[in-house]
């Protein structure tokens, strides 16, 4: 089989903990020519072509990159994505798409107007467990679904203090861990009508600064279906794995509970994951979309819709009341 001409891909920033994994997967592909920009000097992402500034990454090839992967601190997504759109470069942007709805809207519009692919990095979209849930909901196995409860609990990301810096991250756990489940719910149900959220700062108090570390987000959908997301960074520091994602759906046809990161070999203090490589599936989908010139799920639009859910959750924390999504 012929190897297609390698796609010129720039991975922009090593600020996000996912950067190292994406870089390794991209570097291993024969159909990708990769440059990694590490302007902050995190120094823990290895690549044959590693540069110290975004300029060098944009200039790595005479014609520039064909696609970028944005793994900067959340607040910097906007500038990188807008620059990519200006240059006619396709984008895979780490979640959350942006720290404000206005930024997310601008990014989606810019990429649409430029005719470039914008996708949001929701790897769990590619989980076989999530696919099983989507199928069971769609084919009627669960009957009429009336409620869902999701958890996306993790440790406070280590060695990346910006995750708990509300300026750079847009918030704390509410921003970091609501969107994965919000994206799955979006793919099942569309957008919620109202969002209610409560947060606190009890976990990781010594390290997390002003960021919320615990949160419960309740979404109500047209017709009354209710879903709650526990977005807390509640995985203890000494746990053998980073955390996980579960979602339970209940309906007139019974219940389905999924645990996207369940596949592992265990032992006291041991956790050897063996499941589908979700990051690899995400990158495969993105590179296919780049070659086809057309975005596939998870798109920038779902990135925008989940950013709106987070913004409503933050507004609810401020007001203490449920927030209609339409009021944003």
């Amino acid at each position: 089989m012929l190897t297609p001409t390698p796609l010129r891909v720039a991975l922009m920033s090593c600020a996000h903990t996912h950067a190292a994994g994406y870089a390794a997967l991209l570097e291993a592909r024969a159909d990708v020519d990769l440059v990694v920009a590490d302007p902050d000097g995190f120094g823990n992402v290895s690549a044959r072509s590693l540069v110290g500034s975004y300029e060098e990454a944009w200039d790595r090839w005479a014609d520039g990159p064909e696609a970028i992967v944005v793994t900067s601190a959340n607040a910097h997504h906007r500038d990188l994505v807008l620059e990519a759109a200006r240059r006619g470069v396709h984008v895979l942007c780490e979640k959350p798409l942006a720290t404000t709805v206005a930024d997310a809207e601008e990014m989606v519009a810019a990429c649409r107007d430029a005719g470039v692919v914008l996708m949001t990095a929701f790897p769990v979209h590619f989980s076989p467990a999530v696919a099983a849930l989507r199928t069971a909901a769609a084919d009627g196995t669960l009957g009429e679904v009336i409620g869902l409860t999701g958890t996306n609990n993790g440790k406070l990301p280590a060695g990346r203090d910006w995750f708990s810096d509300p300026e750079l991250a847009g918030g704390g756990a509410l921003v970091d861990h609501t969107v994965h489940l919000a994206q799955i719910l979006d793919s099942l149900l569309g957008e919620p009508e109202t969002v209610h959220a409560v947060t606190n700062r009890i976990l990781w108090k010594d390290r997390a600064g002003d960021a919320e570390t615990g949160g419960l987000v309740t979404l109500t959908y047209p017709g009354g279906l209710v879903a709650t997301i526990d977005c807390s960074w509640s995985q203890p520091a000494d746990a053998p794995t980073w955390g996980g994602l579960t979602l339970q759906a209940v309906g007139t046809g019974g219940q389905l509970q999924i645990d996207a990161f369940a596949p592992h070999v265990g032992g006291p203090g041991r956790w050897l994951p063996y499941g589908t490589d979700l990051d690899a599936a995400l990158l495969e989908a993105f590179l296919g979309a780049v070659r086809a010139g057309e975005a596939v799920e998870p798109t920038g639009e779902v990135g925008l819709r989940t950013t709106r859910v987070v913004a409503a959750a933050q507004e609810s924390v401020r007001t203490g009341q449920p927030v209609p999504l339409a009021s944003l």
């Binding site: 009890i202 949160g215 419960l216």
Partner: protein
């Protein structure tokens, strides 16, 4: 305080504790073995099923409440919730201590009134919040109190069952619905473990196809800053009873799932033989009956005048918070409490 000398051993000389069970439906059958184990002399009164109950547990049937109240030391109120108030008041007026199934009442005002009456009468009012006697929850509570998971931050509780067989449970005006009747157990747990609540937000959804499949989500904000999620479900016919909790603190997490490994697992071949009667496999549980533990704790508290694991104020507080959740359901607002 106690007007009797309760003695859990039936073969000793002091006279046995005389207990009057009012209402001999489902929950009375769960309470009765505890009273029997405590050596109590049982009396009962009910609009239906009293003779059968009496035959099963060795109780004396009373044709009316007044006759029962005149014959006992303690009344155990096991009627549908709307009848609790009148019976509790009558028992207190008769100078008796009272055990009352949860919820104490359908409104905070009514529950507070019962607690105040008990205080005025100098009698005990013990609400049967049995989940405090499930060893899993009790173990978690002890660990939290001992500081084993640091400062408690995020609590999640789930309770799942089939739609109750007695139709009155499904009538929200009679039972308070899934929040007041089922979830109140987990609301009580959240308050027990994380302290008083200051705000409540609730959502409930009933299937369009059948009103017997319902779920409710309630989020509590505690005065301590902790936050709790309670998820109740009356599931599709055949839904197995299940309860879970997940408690996260600054120093660790505690988890329990009743659908997890019980320590007794039949493979599919053995399970099929058990169901068909081909093999004799005894029904066993891996922990003592929480209902019996509850009744024995109440007997000890009544006997000593000391504290029980749950008291009337706890029962009234659970009703107050569940009532705030119902108000949130009606208004769509988060309710301060």
């Amino acid at each position: 305080m106690p007007q009797f000398s309760a003695d859990p051993a039936p073969d000793q000389h002091s006279s046995p504790l005389r207990v009057g069970i009012v209402g001999t439906g489902g929950i009375s059958r769960a309470h009765a073995p505890g009273w029997v184990e405590a050596g109590a002399e049982l009396h009962c009164h009910s609009v239906a099923g009293a003779e059968e109950f009496a035959a099963q547990f060795g109780a004396r049937v009373h044709a009316d409440l007044g006759s029962l109240l005149a014959a006992v030391d303690v009344v155990d109120v096991c009627t549908p919730t709307p009848e609790h108030g009148a019976i509790v008041h009558a028992a207190l007026d008769a100078g008796l201590d009272v055990v009352c199934e949860k919820p104490l009442a359908l409104t905070a005002e009514e529950a507070d009134d019962l607690v105040a009456h008990a205080e005025r009468a100098g009698r005990r009012l013990l609400p049967a919040h049995v989940v405090r006697y499930f060893p899993q929850y009790a173990a978690a509570k002890r660990a939290i109190d001992a500081g084993e998971i640091g400062e408690i931050a995020v609590l999640r509780f789930e309770r799942t069952g089939s739609f109750p067989r007695q139709p009155w449970f499904g009538d929200e005006s009679l039972s308070g619905g899934i929040v007041m009747d089922q979830m109140i157990h987990d609301i009580d747990q959240a308050l027990w473990m994380a302290g008083p609540a200051v705000a409540v937000h609730a959502r409930q959804h009933t299937a369009a196809a059948t009103d017997e499949v319902r779920t409710a989500h309630v989020v509590l904000t505690h005065a301590s800053g902790a936050i709790s999620h309670c998820r109740g479900l009356w599931g599709a016919p055949g839904t197995a009873f299940r309860y879970t909790f997940d408690l996260a603190g600054s120093g660790g997490c505690l988890r329990y799932d009743s659908a997890g490994d019980s320590g007794i697992t039949f493979d599919a071949v053995a399970a099929a033989r058990q169901a068909s009667g081909d093999g004799f496999l005894p029904e066993v549980t891996t922990f003592p009956s929480p209902y019996a533990e509850e009744i024995l704790d109440f007997v000890a508290a009544l006997s000593s005048g000391g504290a029980a694991r749950v008291d009337g104020a706890d029962g009234a507080e659970a009703v107050r918070v569940a009532g705030a959740a119902l108000q949130s359901l009606r208004t769509g607002r988060s309710i301060a409490c």
